[in-house]
Amino acid sequence: MAEKKTYKIAHNRKWCKNCGICVAVCSKHVYEMDSNDRQAIVNPQDCIGCQMCTEHCPDFALIVVEVRDE
């Protein structure tokens, strides 16, 4: 049976400008803007690896890779 794939999100805080685009394009609510209007990763476990956030981040600040444990 196919197991649920898991993904690791690398976020480059130094390049991120907290624009909120990843929050808007992720259908799994992985991201949120926190109370200081800073981007925060809140539900990484729900990531399905669709790459919507990485492809639309204007600042090359996100990388999402599948985690494979053999």
Binding site: K14, K17, C19, I21, A24, V25, H56, P58, D59
Partner: protein
């Protein structure tokens, strides 16, 4: 996307939070990667503007020229070394206002370069003035009561001038954009991709288009695939912009030359 295509030491870039230029640049780098081009044989040329900063963040050879003059410089590079893949990154102002003449004549000559217009519908770098692509009625610094002029349709302009590959896409539709960039780059002859990006700082703010994320996601609502648009009435298409491939024909150059020979 290959991170060695970027000059990591130059990041973060100078663009405003949520500016669409970074998304368009990423799509272009993705297209170059997917085509398997030798990075040493790719040259990016730009003029002046926020969009024209893009090549400087890449590891390819690049030339940041004068405002509007990227196309003649790119033409020279291509003539000097036809083996190079020469790509121009330009803004709507850079390509259609000050550089408009270069654009139409490079299309007329069918110069084998690819022009990628990061079209944000205004002059971002200088504070949000109207460009020849600014839609009628839009608010800009120079049209505070709404733009009285009609814009060029860049696709029709390039096609009318003789471009042999013309497409339009938007950065929300990354796969569509990457696919059309790949076709434009591999096309032999003059190719242009009108790439819709957001300028949240000026065009978006002046025209109440919401924040960067809203501007980006709203492309879903006002950009319509050509195949879908063909089934719609003009009323249904009011206020929409059509994306897709509009011209994809053989080169004018050799064809014109052989016709001349036959006539002689």
């Amino acid at each position: 996307m290959r991170s060695d295509f970027l000059r990591l030491e130059r990041l973060p870039d100078i663009w405003c939070p949520g500016c669409g230029n970074g998304v368009a640049l990423r799509a272009l780098l993705e297209a170059i990667e997917q085509l398997g081009l030798d990075p040493d044989k790719v040259v990016l040329v730009s003029g002046i503007g926020c969009s024209s900063r893009a090549p400087a963040y890449t590891a390819f050879d690049n030339v940041h020229t004068l405002h509007g003059r990227a196309i003649p410089v790119a033409t020279g590079i291509k003539l000097a070394n036809p083996k190079l893949t020469v790509i121009v990154i330009t803004g709507d102002g850079d390509s259609s206002a000050i550089g408009g003449n270069h654009l139409i004549h490079a299309a007329r000559r069918d110069v084998d370069i690819t022009v990628v217009v990061f079209n944000n519908y205004n002059y971002g770098m200088t504070g949000g003035q109207a460009s020849p692509l600014t839609p009628s009625s839009s608010i800009t610094t120079t049209t505070p009561s709404g733009n009285l002029d009609r814009p060029f349709d860049l696709v029709n302009l390039a096609a009318g001038a003789g471009a042999t590959y013309v497409a339009r896409s938007g950065i929300y539709f990354t796969k569509h954009l990457v696919d059309h960039l790949k076709k434009a780059i591999t096309h032999e002859g003059f190719s242009l991709v009108d790439t819709i990006v957001q300028c949240p700082t000026y065009y978006g703010r002046f025209n109440k288009r919401g924040d960067a994320a809203q501007m980006l996601v709203s492309q879903k609502d006002w950009l319509v695939l050509k195949s879908v648009a063909e089934k719609k009435t003009p009323e249904q298409l009011a206020g929409k912009v059509i994306i897709g491939e509009f011209v994809n024909i053989g080169r004018h150059g050799p064809a014109a030359a052989s016709t001349m020979k036959e006539q002689a």
